[in-house]
């Protein structure tokens, strides 16, 4: 079963921490990614640029509108994701809990629709 783990945290936190701390968290992310890859649970994962780089696109009456910023202004922003493959939600929660930034922000775990 595939689950998308959406990683939310306060992006100003990352902008304001010292470089050494940032590097150490990044190292934790690399180690985590390697671990779930080795366990065969990793499908994909990316780190996103901050929300100030986001553009929201809509089509209304056939016309495209593109506006600056994320779809929703929230205290914690979507900063990255992992797409994982685990037997059930119990296991998915275990994996999500090991994502390093779960300690600061939160991880939304969403089952993926299976069309097969």
């Amino acid at each position: 079963m595939k689950y998308l783990c959406l990683i939310y945290s306060d992006e100003t936190h990352w902008a304001n921490i010292p470089q050494t701390e940032y590097d150490s968290v990044l190292g934790e992310f690399f180690a985590f990614t390697k671990q779930i890859r080795d366990q065969g649970k990793y499908i994909a994962g990316e780190n996103l640029q901050p929300t100030r780089t986001a553009t929201t696109v809509r089509v209304r009456n056939g016309r495209i509108s593109a506006t600056d910023g994320p779809f929703a202004e929230t205290k914690e922003q979507l900063g990255g994701f992992y797409l994982i493959d685990t037997p059930d939600l119990g296991d998915a929660i275990q994996v999500a809990s090991r994502i390093p930034s779960a300690r600061y922000g939160c991880i939304e775990v969403r089952p993926v629709v299976d069309f097969s």
């Binding site: 079963m1 037997p87 059930d88 939600l89 119990g90 296991d91 929660i93 775990v109 089952p111």
Partner: protein, 415 residues
């Protein structure tokens, strides 16, 4: 009077059979349908063929067979169901042996799944009462004073989430057990409180919730004898033992120190005290056990004045370390007031209220009012009772505070 054997078996076994069918079929709705079909077959066949040697195993395998059969029939319209039916048929052919251990594990799996933290607390409660206790949706709705469609939708959504997110049908592994058990115990205690705090008009149906919670507590202690499960069962029994005494004939609330202790249920007290002892001896107890130990001291005191307040304050100190919340601090302050006098307690409660967290908590203002009354600060007592009255929604509580207010302002009026 003898109960019809099918009905007798249904009462005794339906929840067990359901729990096992959910595991075998991997689907709540399919399992419920299968359960109904299995009992329908029993009604038809047992009277003529006689009771099977193992009715439980008979019901499980009949239910499983009926479910696969029904999926195959429906597969004519929906090919994907055919695949499911084949998988189920293959995975468990020949019919699985139904061992008693498996069945007990299935009951625990069902409880832990219904109380999974990925479901909202409301959904956990509704699903547990429906699936584990076997209450009908109408019964649950009546007990929670909610419209039946709301409750029905809550249950449907919870089951849909279990399926869509694939919440595992498992007893959690040891490292996760304390936290997951805490979530189960919380659900049981919410059900109990819903029944216990109820009064007046609907008290009959809501009383059933307390009995249902105690039944669930017993089941948990039987299946998983963890100290906190015992502690919770003890706490519920000790509260329940005072049910009669806490309501006067006219439906009014009677406080602990004014209750007629001869009406307390001695059997429940004895059972509760025994469970507290067992849980305490494990040295791995938590907040429920400590609260039960406090309730046990109250239950064993021959009169309110004979209560061992020093011991109770000591237990509140322990509880405060395990569960550091302002509500526990408030209860501790009330116990200190009993041990060291109302002035001391009042000072603590004033400090607590000054911190603001309990500003909206009715019992904090009632407790302050009561202590002010005892030290003769009538004006302050009236002020606090009025604040408490604004915050309370339960009718008997309201009437109690109104009665106190009348007594106090009566004292102020010149004769």
């Amino acid at each position: 009077m003898t109960l019809d054997p099918v009905e007798h078996t249904f009462r005794a076994e339906s929840r067990r059979v359901l729990a096992t069918l959910i595991r075998l079929l991997g689907d709540f709705d399919l399992a419920e349908e299968a359960l109904q079909e299995a009992f329908a077959a029993a009604v038809e066949r047992w009277p003529s063929e006689g009771l099977p040697a193992n009715p439980r195993a008979w019901l499980v395998s009949t239910g499983r067979f009926k479910a696969i059969d029904s999926l195959r029939r429906r597969a004519r319209f929906d090919a994907s169901l055919g695949r499911v039916a084949e998988q189920l048929g293959e995975a468990v052919t020949p019919a699985p042996e139904v061992e008693d251990d498996d069945v007990e594990d299935d009951r625990l799996r069902l409880i832990f799944t219904c109380c999974h933290p990925a479901l909202t607390p409301d959904a956990q409660i509704a699903l547990t009462l429906r699936e584990v206790c076997g209450l009908t949706t109408e019964e649950i709705a009546r007990a929670f004073l909610s419209p039946t469609p709301t409750l029905a939708q809550r249950i449907v959504r919870a089951k849909a989430k279990i399926k869509a997110a694939r919440i595992p049908y498992q007893v959690p592994a040891r490292p996760d057990l304390p936290e997951r058990l805490a979530s189960v115990l919380h659900v049981v205690y919410l059900v109990f409180n819903e029944g216990y705090s109820a009064s007046s008009g609907s008290s009959l149906t809501r009383h059933d919730l307390s009995s249902e919670a105690i039944r669930l507590g017993r089941l948990l202690v039987e299946l998983l004898p963890e100290p906190e499960a015992m502690g919770l069962l003890a706490l519920m029994l000790l509260h329940e033992s005072r049910r009669e005494a806490r309501t006067a004939v006219d439906g009014e609330l009677v406080l602990l120190d004014e209750q007629d202790r001869s009406t307390w249920n001695r059997e429940q007290i004895a059972e509760g005290v025994g469970l507290v002892d067992r849980a305490m001896r494990s040295r791995q107890f938590g907040p429920y056990t400590i609260q039960a130990a406090i309730a046990a001291l109250h239950a064993q005191a021959p009169t309110a004045a004979d209560t061992d307040w020093s011991e109770i304050v000591g237990l509140y100190d322990v509880l405060l370390r395990a569960d550091p919340t302002p509500v526990v601090e408030l209860n501790r302050a009330a116990a200190i007031a009993m041990r060291d006098g109302p002035e001391v307690g009042l000072r603590l409660i004033d400090e607590l209220l000054a911190r603001g967290e309990l500003e909206e908590y009715q019992l904090a203002h009632s407790a302050r009012a009561e202590l002010c009354r005892r030290v003769g600060q009538t004006g302050e007592a009236i002020k606090s009772y009025r604040r408490a009255l604004m915050l309370t929604r339960q009718e008997p509580q309201k009437r109690f505070i109104e009665r106190r207010l009348k007594e106090l302002s009566g004292g102020l009026t010149p004769a």
